[in-house]
């Protein structure tokens, strides 16, 4: 067995993407999904993950329509669809950037065990960052949670795992 038996179904959710369209996770069954929680004003850790995703997407170019990259904000106050769109453009890739109401997001954080907490920074009033869970999740084509990565996982490792999940689906 290459991986342990799947234990959990990835909880479904509907949020809003960077184009203002609804994004429902269950609509992406049949595809492998990488899920990560972060925020636009995150200077250090989130860019590492987004940069890694850029490499993963480039390496999986032949399977582009079978893999989804989903970035969910932990900072809905500042992360509008517009700011998410601009931010993801830096990486020049086709990632989904999702936001929603506090209530909608609270349900998603709870379902995925995501911790998030505002911490003030800088001299300007109201400046803050969000301490948060850095896990990246890998969901298979049948909608089950299969793997959890640390934020600094190597792109090659993700590519390897995604290819395995894609092969599983195409298997006998």
């Amino acid at each position: 067995m290459p991986y342990p038996e799947p234990v959990e179904t990835a909880e479904d959710f509907t949020l809003t993407d960077q184009e203002g369209r609804p994004f429902r996770l269950a609509d992406h069954r049949g595809r492998v999904v990488l899920l990560f929680f972060g925020f636009v004003h995150c200077p250090d850790v989130c860019p590492v993950t987004l940069s890694t995703w850029g490499k993963v997407q480039a390496a999986l170019d032949d399977a582009r329509d079978r893999v989804e990259f989903v970035f969910v904000t932990v900072d809905p106050e500042r992360d509008t669809p517009e700011s998410l769109r601009r931010h993801l453009e830096i990486y020049g890739q086709e990632f989904h950037g999702l936001t929603g109401s506090q209530e909608q997001l609270a349900g998603v954080y709870e379902a995925y065990g995501i911790f998030q907490e505002k911490v003030p920074v800088g001299s300007s009033a109201g400046g803050y960052v969000v301490d948060h869970s850095t896990r990246m999740l890998l969901i298979d084509a049948t909608g089950r949670l299969r793997l959890r990565y640390a934020f600094d996982v190597a792109a090659e490792d993700i590519v390897h795992d995604v290819r395995r999940l894609l092969a599983e689906r195409a298997g006998p």
Binding site: V45, I90, V121, G127
Partner: protein, 151 residues
């Protein structure tokens, strides 16, 4: 034998007098992440803070510390450290500065200590560079060039 000892003693005294241990700091590999992708509207102010990474080597015999930094591209520069505790990422503001050991180095790299550029005056675009002035506990301030590259 006595003469040799005296000579060695004089040499040691001179050595001590000539080179009191001082930090000797050199900066290298300074880079920043871009804040804007290609083809976007450059007149819209930057939403996110910037970040700078670099390596500070100390070839001197005395420890120093990076205590602050300033740049014309941001209103404020703070020294932060990302601490990852299991799954939780925390940002810690290092208000006391960061030590640079004698004959050692301080590495500011992704996922660790970094300089956060707050209230950017303009966007940082890949291929550009900007000046950053570093201040130390003992050494004189240095202005270095930071290359914007990435993502």
């Amino acid at each position: 034998v006595t003469r040799r000892l005296v000579r060695a003693g004089v040499f040691l005294v001179l050595l001590g007098a000539c080179s009191p241990p001082e930090p000797r700091i050199t900066a290298r590999e300074a880079w920043a992440r871009p804040t804007w992708g290609d083809g976007a509207d450059p007149t819209t102010p930057p939403a996110a803070p910037g970040v700078v990474y670099l390596v500070l080597a100390n070839r001197g015999g005395r420890a120093d510390a990076l205590v602050s930094a300033t740049t014309e591209v941001a209103a404020l520069v703070e020294i932060h450290e990302t601490r990852v505790d299991g799954d939780r990422m925390r940002m810690v503001h290092l208000t006391e500065g960061v030590p640079i050991p004698a004959r050692g180095q301080l590495e500011l790299r992704p996922g660790g200590v970094h300089l956060m550029l707050i209230d950017l005056a303009r966007h940082l675009r890949a291929g550009e560079s900007f000046g950053l002035t570093l201040r130390f506990a003992h050494s004189a301030a240095q202005t270095i060039q930071v290359e914007v590259r990435g993502p």
